[in-house]
């Protein structure tokens, strides 16, 4: 397992896929080492891989360098603190760290924090039975999703990226790209349908 931190991973390539899955597996192990042993060496590995990505995420969403750096550092402190809450049956490491970065960003820009369900609330309806997607690991799901996204037509993949990386409404995205709003929406819908379809088929 190499620390190919900075190089783009090849698309639609089994070796690349295996590499991504292996990397996710390794990151998951590091996270549990951090949770159990407060392992600083493991934390450094997680930091080296994710910190530049979290910073890039903040920059893409409009933060200047100083704010992006600050939010990234906060996110990495959270990764250390909350490592015990990482559950590989619920999320791949990249999914978990994405949600941390996303929530920190929302908290930084708004007066109130992001509304989320509270599993400890008596009115919260617990998961009835093990979910269908618990059977396969979330790392596997993430790897599949990555492959599905890589095979989407360019314009659909682009819309998906824009909706995660641009704090703009769909009509603003349409205006920027010089295409009708309906086209933005239909590209997104098609992208989601393909993702859903591909995952759904393999789950059943």
């Amino acid at each position: 397992m190499s620390d190919s931190d900075d190089q783009a991973l090849p698309r639609r390539n089994t070796r690349g896929e295996r590499q991504v899955a292996a990397n996710a597996q390794v990151m998951a192990t590091y996270l549990s080492d951090i949770a159990r042993q407060r392992d600083a060496a493991a934390f450094e590995k997680v930091f080296r891989y994710f910190a530049p990505r979290v910073k890039a995420y903040m920059l893409k969403l409009g933060a200047d360098d100083a704010l992006a750096e600050e939010l990234m550092q906060e996110a990495m402190v959270s990764v250390w603190r909350k490592a015990d809450r990482f559950d590989s049956s619920k999320a791949a490491p990249s999914t978990w760290i994405f949600t941390i970065a996303r929530n920190l960003r929302i908290d930084a820009y708004r007066k109130s924090s992001r509304p989320e369900p509270d599993p400890n609330d008596p009115a919260f309806q617990p998961d009835a039975e093990p979910q269908a997607d618990d059977a396969i690991s979330q790392i596997e799901t993430a790897t599949r999703l990555r492959d599905i996204i890589a095979t989407l037509p360019d314009e659909q993949r682009r819309m998906l990226q824009l909706s995660y990386y641009q704090d703009k409404s769909h009509s603003e995205i349409a205006e920027d790209a010089g295409i009708p709003l309906g086209t933005v929406k239909s590209r997104l819908r098609l992208a989601m349908q393909k993702v859903r379809h591909a995952l759904g088929e393999e789950e059943r």
Binding site: K55, F98, D127, A142
Partner: protein, 224 residues
């Protein structure tokens, strides 16, 4: 009718693009619909995949040391061996059965019986909710069992989440946890089901358009 949150909205919630009012209705719906949480997880996973593939941006040279010193500066209260977080808690008795789930209950400031309801008519009462969100209007509505709400259509989008009782309109029948999404193309007259008052959480992006001129005249007063 599906009674579920549409994909686009769930994806926007996952991406962190929704303003507070819409986020509140999505999160409250998710608290009541366990089957929808794996759907959200799929969208979060897309966010994770995109994070994996993003072009990295170099942190400050001192970043790692700064993070380490921030970690050592503050007490480390997060060590829980083997991740002993459970889904159930022992702090609430089983009889503790709120109508409003979190995060809505905190946003409103209590459960239905703790609130000051403003009467809109003999059959309908509301509580306005301040969400720090100028793009939406958020309110709880309580409609007496078996009674209708004035016929209206919409200027923007209206999401209605049922929290108690049920209602029926031209699109279908909705129960606790169900969401109805309506827009300019929908004119409806929701009628509360028999047997129990219907409590809903309604979020709108623009004022409703009522058919009845008297109701229209009263709209500014009730901010509906």
């Amino acid at each position: 009718m599906s009674g579920l949150i549409p994909d686009e909205l769930l994806a926007d919630y996952s991406a962190g693009r929704l303003s507070n009012g819409w986020s509140l209705v999505v999160a409250t719906h998710l608290a009541l619909r366990p089957t929808e949480r794996p759907r959200l997880r799929q969208f979060d996973t897309i966010g994770g995949v995109l994070l994996d593939e993003i072009e990295p941006a170099a942190p400050a040279e001192t970043a790692f040391d700064s993070v380490l010193s921030r970690i050592s500066e503050t007490p480390d209260d997060a060590i829980v061996m083997n991740g002993a977080h459970t889904k159930t808690c022992n702090c609430c008795t089983p009889s503790d059965n709120p109508v409003l789930p979190e995060p809505l209950r905190s946003a409103v400031g209590g459960d239905v019986d703790d609130l000051k309801w403003q009467r809109l008519s003999g059959d309908v009462a509301q509580v306005l909710i301040d969400t720090d969100d100028e793009t939406t209007m958020c309110r709880l509505l309580r409609v007496r069992a078996g009674r209708p709400v004035a016929t209206h259509t919409h200027r923007g989008t209206e999401l209605t989440l049922v929290l108690a009782g049920s209602f029926t309109d031209e699109l279908g029948t909705y129960h606790r946890g169900d969401v109805e999404m309506a827009d300019e193309t929908v004119e409806h007259q929701p009628i509360a089901g028999e047997g129990a008052d219907c409590v809903c959480f309604a979020v709108t992006s623009a004022p409703l358009k009522f058919r009845n001129p008297i109701v229209r005249m009263l709209q500014p007063l009730f901010r509906i």
